[in-house]
Symmetry: C2
Subunit: 170 residues, 2 copies
DNA sequence: AAGGTAGGTTTCCTGAGGAAACCCTACCCA
DNA sequence: TGGGTAGGGTTTCCTCAGGAAACCTACCTT
């Protein structure tokens, strides 16, 4: 979370970043989607301060990304589940994981494999064009003003993507 | 950036989140990839504190995500360009933008359109299986331990993804 | 009655984030 | 030769978010 709120900015990345653009929220979503849904389990798994965990969870609930649900009455026990909006963060997490795998995995390779149940293979995520199915990259895409545009910070839209230097994954 | 460093954790999302898991770094990368590469331009466009901008830029340079480059000698002027590692964050940004578009775009629709130059259409990113090309979702994927696994915080790997509740994009 | 577990809340401290002013070099120009 | 401006930061000062650890409240078990 930034101190400078980005909620009013006309940029979907800024608006998304305002809500889930902090490391703990991303890791909480990862855990919840993977089945770690209880307060104590999250605290233990992440090593996060319990105060911050409580704050993040209530923000995520406020935003409709998680719901707090009682799963047992005696004794009363609650856990946190992802809503549809929360599950739609999966591509963000996959993209981050893939990037982390490529640039930070050690000698031994990545710590986790993703298996695609539909085709049965261990796989990696590819960001593809909804239209033609081929990969989207900085080189083959450009940004154009949309219908919801208006001037303001973080709103500048320029021509074809530029500005790169070669490097290889280590 | 978290105070609790996540760099040592065996989880690619955690390691990625440690580096770019903060709103400003994500927005800086967005700007740089779109052609806003100079200090003052970034400061103005983002409305970020100049101190924080300087800190983020040097972290991103340290991590090999950006390079600082002189683009003019008289007078000496520098700017920041994305490396290959930096450009590979594009899928993360696209995923975030897409999520922001779906859940935070107003009546008028999203502020920016992505045009895929290869097929010529305005498009949206789809997170697809590198193997079979169909979409990856929480429902059709599962996580398995990888070769680089070892015990520690944020490393738990469970069975098929569970824990969801229905909602529709607003 | 003592101890354990789940799910937080409170307290206190440190340091990251923000605003605004300041600095330095290098032009540009009269 | 002095003044103005632009780029690219750095410094100062303040506030508030993040972290550690203790505490609290039900409820259950032995």
């Amino acid at each position: 979370m930034t101190r400078t709120s980005l909620a009013g900015v006309t940029c979907s990345i800024a608006r998304a970043a305002d809500v889930v653009g902090d490391a703990w929220s991303l890791l909480i979503m990862r855990d919840v989607l993977v089945g770690i849904t209880r307060f104590d389990d999250l605290a233990t798994d992440l090593g996060i301060s319990r105060k911050i965990l409580a704050a993040r969870l209530s923000r995520l609930v406020e935003e409709g990304i998680l719901v707090r649900e009682r799963y047992q009455d005696r004794p009363p026990r609650e856990h946190y589940l992802a809503t549809g909006k929360g599950r739609e963060l999966y591509p963000v997490l996959l993209a981050l994981m893939n990037w982390g795998d490529r640039w930070y995995a050690g000698e031994d390779g990545p710590p986790v494999r993703i298996r695609h149940l539909d085709c049965g293979h261990d796989t990696a995520p590819v960001t593809a064009c909804a239209h033609c199915g081929t990969e989207l990259t900085t080189d083959n895409t450009t940004q154009l003003p949309g219908t919801g545009g208006r001037a303001g910070p973080g709103t500048r839209v320029l021509g074809p993507l530029i500005g790169s230097r070669a490097t290889q994954p280590g």
